[in-house]
């Protein structure tokens, strides 16, 4: 336990807010014993999730995802590049996760947050290994030109479950993405066609538009994730920053739409998990994947 029993005596006299600050673990355990959390959520329930596509007009695809207060803004810009010689038919995705100082009081300017490059890498690995995007769809002219998609995710408010929100915003941004129309000009170079209002441009589009039909990516095997905290015998789904700072054992499960396991992540922590705990996390993730799938489905219809 670690804490002496003095807290037992003080708890009846102290104000709730003070008790929460001074004895955070006991405060949470009081709630956990009733199978609840301070914000009245049951242990396995995630916070309210909202996804808003198409917010950034300067980007080719964008989305804002909010899980509770955690807010992520993802935007994709496409640029043409020469594909590498070992994969001449494939494009490329470059993902970067930023945590600007506005998102949290712990991020100092000039010093990138510790969590940012870790989440960056995990996101890249998850998205590429889930097979959501077929890189061959990003090819324009085999061996000569292909799309490079720069996905930038900005955390605007960090309140726990950063990976989940970032993944959701990335997936939503890809589904919102509209690849710009391009044509091959006389020098063999790819040029962008801007809206096609000019008469010259219109004729180019008719004759040489390389990808007039293929403007949206087909997304298969969309990954959905859920982060859980393990504490003694309890499993808390979708933690807030306060919960993450007190209890340090986090498990992230990523499933795809067909209930296949894409990735599992538990990087240490004081609690050692039995396989039964891991199975429970996967079960919670399965339910969450259904919720998220419905939310994304509603977003696409708009």
């Amino acid at each position: 336990m670690g804490l002496p029993d003095s807290s037992q005596d003080l708890s009846t006299e102290m104000e709730v807010d003070a008790f929460r600050r001074i004895f955070p673990l006991r405060f949470f355990e009081r709630h956990l014993s009733e199978s609840l959390r301070p914000d009245a959520r049951p242990l396995g329930k995630a916070r309210d999730t909202i996804v808003n596509p198409g917010l950034v007009s300067t980007a080719d695809g964008s989305a804002l995802a909010k899980i509770g207060s955690t807010t992520m803004l993802a935007a994709i810009r496409m640029e043409v590049m020469t594909p590498s010689t070992d994969s001449p038919d494939e494009g490329c995705i470059a993902l970067e996760f930023h945590m600007p100082p506005i998102c949290s009081p712990t991020v100092r300017p000039g010093r990138p947050a510790d969590a940012a490059p870790v989440i960056s890498k995990r996101l890249t690995d998850t998205i590429l290994s889930s097979g959501m995007i077929d890189l061959k769809e990003l090819c324009l002219v085999s061996g000569k030109a292909a799309w490079m998609g720069y996905l930038d995710i900005y955390c605007l408010n960090a309140d726990g479950a950063l990976f989940d929100a970032a993944l959701l915003s990335a997936v939503a941004a890809f589904s919102n993405l509209e690849i710009p129309v391009v044509a091959l000009n006389d020098n063999g170079r790819i040029v962008a066609i801007s809206g096609g209002k000019d008469e010259d441009n219109a004729s180019i589009i008719e004759k040489k538009a390389v990808n007039k039909e293929k403007r949206k990516l087909t997304l298969k095997n969309i990954p959905f994730s859920l982060t859980c905290i393990l504490h003694k015998n309890y499993i808390l789904a979708d933690p807030t920053t306060e919960e993450e700072s007190i209890m340090d054992t986090l498990v992230t499960v990523v499933l795809d739409a067909s209930d296949q396991l894409v990735s599992l992540y538990k990087s240490g922590g004081t609690v050692l998990a039995y396989s039964s705990a891991v199975k429970s996390c996967v079960e919670l993730a399965r339910k969450r994947a259904k919720e998220l799938k419905q939310i994304l489905g509603e977003m696409d219809i708009d």
Partner: protein, 241 residues
């Protein structure tokens, strides 16, 4: 290229003395002590204020009996037409300094000694006038954080194209090669805190453009006051409930 057509309409259909549409909201970042979103047309900026809090880098503290004000301006990679390569270029550093000094002039730093006030600005979309949008957003965020200020700092830009002074330039008008005057004022005290101008301009024309920008600032100040009053009403309502 014609930026003002013979009927007096600009490229986006505005008249010479019309500002772009303003959308302002406070309390958007729950983790921050004060925050605001400020949009001027397509330019969108988020400001977050953390403070007053303990000074994190004692070596930066110059005056012991005044609060330390730090400001960081950064643009998102997707905010401009081309994806930006470097996160912190010279322009961001210059703007951070300019905005810090503007806000420092209006915060009552002597009331908060031995503390630090952090102002973070994130540009999500840039379409001209980011400097002004940042100052306006910072003012709202500081008010939301409850930091004492002598007045609201508001800012607006104006330019001169096709022999017409134009209020609130967007990116296309700004890059036309004409002049761009950015003015920051404290409206109640009627004092100028920020004044930046580039390109050449005759003196009389400058005075017209400057007056136009000041008018724009006063209109923004009205809007900011309305937003803050509405916010206070909401807080009162919630507290009573």
């Amino acid at each position: 290229m014609e930026y003002v057509n013979p009927e007096g309409l600009r490229l986006d259909g505005r008249r010479f003395n019309e500002m772009r549409q303003i959308v302002a909201e406070v309390g958007v970042v729950s983790k921050a002590d004060g925050s605001a979103v400020f949009e001027m047309g397509n330019t969108k900026v988020i400001a977050a204020v953390y403070g007053p809090r303990e000074i994190q880098n004692k070596s930066l503290q110059k005056k012991n009996d005044h609060a330390l004000v730090l400001c960081e301006y950064s643009m998102a990679q997707f905010s401009t037409g081309d994806r930006r390569r470097q996160k912190f270029d010279r322009r961001s550093t210059e703007l951070s300094l300019v905005i810090r000094q503007t806000m420092e002039a209006c915060i009552l730093t002597e009331l908060l000694p031995h503390s630090q006030i952090d102002i973070f600005l994130q540009v999500l979309q840039a379409d001209g006038g980011t400097r002004s949008a940042c100052i306006n957003a910072a003012t709202l965020a500081l008010a939301d954080a409850g930091i004492p200020m002598r007045d609201l700092a508001v800012s607006c830009s104006a330019g001169y194209l096709n022999s017409t002074p134009l209020l609130d330039l967007n990116y296309v008008e700004d890059s036309a090669g004409g002049t761009d005057v950015t003015v920051g004022i404290l409206p109640k005290l009627d004092k100028v805190t920020l004044l930046q101008m580039d390109a050449k301009l005759p003196m009389e024309t400058f005075e017209t453009v400057f007056a136009l920008a000041s008018e724009g600032c006063k209109a923004i100040a009205e809007r900011i006051r309305e937003v803050l009053q509405e916010n206070t009403k909401q807080l009162e309502y919630r507290r009573a409930a």
